[in-house]
């Protein structure tokens, strides 16, 4: 007797743990930031969960989405980074890492990593670079980007405040911001505070990382916990 019905799934291999990520490239620096809230539905799982991951001295990735996939992706890339370093005697460049991330994501095109990433760092010339991704590896280099729950709220602010050239111009122009590090940092803090007000998945804390020729500098501030 053949089954005449399909049993409906009772569990999903995915869930959205929320969070927002931002990355902004300047002339000679890059800022990568993300909130620290981990959510599940209307619950907060923890207020102190980092979404940032250092891949090398010149590349930091921020990811939101399904935490288990994010962590696996981080481990995957970290292993590849280490292998590259031991094989070539030097760390992977940020643009190289950017391509690797894209390929890694597309490799699982038919069972995706539910992970929304921004990669920020310094390119081979020491200029700030930001790469933005979707869940299956579509990516582009850009001057600034945001992914995750609060992306729709934050992106318009960045478009408005960063004084970058419009990405719609043709021939295309550099969209890295001409602002100083301090000015860009203030904008990052303001945008997260704003997103926190209107978005339930964003809040609790903000981790900011600044990458420049002096290395990587980390900062943490509190965000509203409601």
């Amino acid at each position: 007797m053949a089954r005449g019905f399909k049993e409906h799934a009772t569990w999903s291999p995915y869930e959205n743990n929320g969070g927002t990520c931002v990355a902004i490239a300047g002339l000679d620096y890059c800022i990568v930031a993300a909130d620290t809230r981990l959510s599940l539905g209307y619950s907060i799982l923890t207020r102190g969960h980092s979404k940032l991951f250092k891949l090398s001295d010149t590349a930091v990735m921020a990811s939101s989405g399904f935490q288990a996939d994010v962590r696996t992706l981080q481990k995957n890339l970290e292993a590849r980074q280490k292998g590259y370093y031991h094989q070539h005697g030097k760390p992977m460049s940020c643009p190289g890492m950017a391509q690797l991330l894209s390929n890694t994501l597309y490799y699982k095109r038919f069972f995706p990593y539910y992970s929304f990433n921004v990669l920020g760092g310094l390119d081979t010339e020491g200029k700030g670079c930001v790469y933005t991704y979707d869940a299956v590896g579509s990516y582009e280099r850009t001057g600034y980007s945001t992914q995750g729950s609060g992306a729709e709220l934050i992106m318009p602010i960045l478009d408005n405040q960063l004084k970058s050239a419009s990405p719609l111009l043709y021939p295309p122009r550099e969209t890295a911001t001409p602002l100083t590090e301090q000015e860009a940092l203030e904008i990052v803090k303001d945008t997260f505070a704003s997103a926190t007000e209107r978005q339930i998945y964003t809040g609790d804390g903000l981790e900011i990382v600044v990458i420049n020729k002096d290395g990587i500098h980390k900062e943490y501030l509190d965000l509203k916990k409601d």
């Binding site: 007797m1 053949a2 089954r3 049993e7 799934a9 009772t10 569990w11 999903s12 291999p13 995915y14 869930e15 743990n17 981990l38 599940l40 619950s43 799982l45 923890t46 102190g48 969960h49 399904f66 935490q67 288990a68 962590r71 696996t72 069972f111």
Partner: protein, 256 residues
Amino acid sequence: MEHTIEAFKREESLGARHSGAAAASDGKIHIERTQYPYVTGSSVLGIKYKDGILLAADMAASYGSTKRYKSFQRLKPVGKHAVIGASGEMSDFQQISTMLDELTLRDQMWDDSNTLGPHEIHSYLNRIMYQRRNKFDPLWNNIILGGVKNGKKYLGVVSMIGVHFEDDHVATGFGQHLARPELRKQWRADMTLEEGVRLLEKCLLVLYYRDRSSINKYQIAKVTEEGVTISSPFAIETNWELEAFQNPTKNAEGSW
């Protein structure tokens, strides 16, 4: 192949729920991998305190709405430095216990006086849960792992699809909704053992009042640098004369 036979047997014994592996139109046997939990444990709570970690869970394992087992130990030591507590499908928890015993045994067999710390065990557990999720055959558990090694306290959770994190206080199931707010309000890093136990008991009581699959029989596990101890079962005094329980429909006539 073995997996298929296991799934087949599982389906067979559940009678009414599944019609068993049936031959479909193409002649092949189709085994569903999606699972349902059958014998389940309810909440587990965990907190860090001054000297280490405290975990708490009741001793009930339910079969749907029947409280089938009332002396089920849902807290288990892992090696010398850690303890795990699980909610969800208890047979999967037993399998995880076996895996962790194997892990710690093999580690011990190296005989190099190095032991697996709670962080390492949690990492192993995370990978197991995630890998089973990838195969669409999850271990249906929400697991708390706590431990102390070299003075460092560790408290982590992992869910059935591999989501994991650490915190100063954690809870699974109903505990996430009923206990966590109380823990967020009352928890301090420098709590003594007595204060920690009192806080947990307060949360367990709320769970007993409001979670219908809980029973008033608990164990508390303590992990410190010295090692792991799991208490003998105890009960908490209840008060059903609380004002909030009197005349519950006073402000909502017609409800129950």
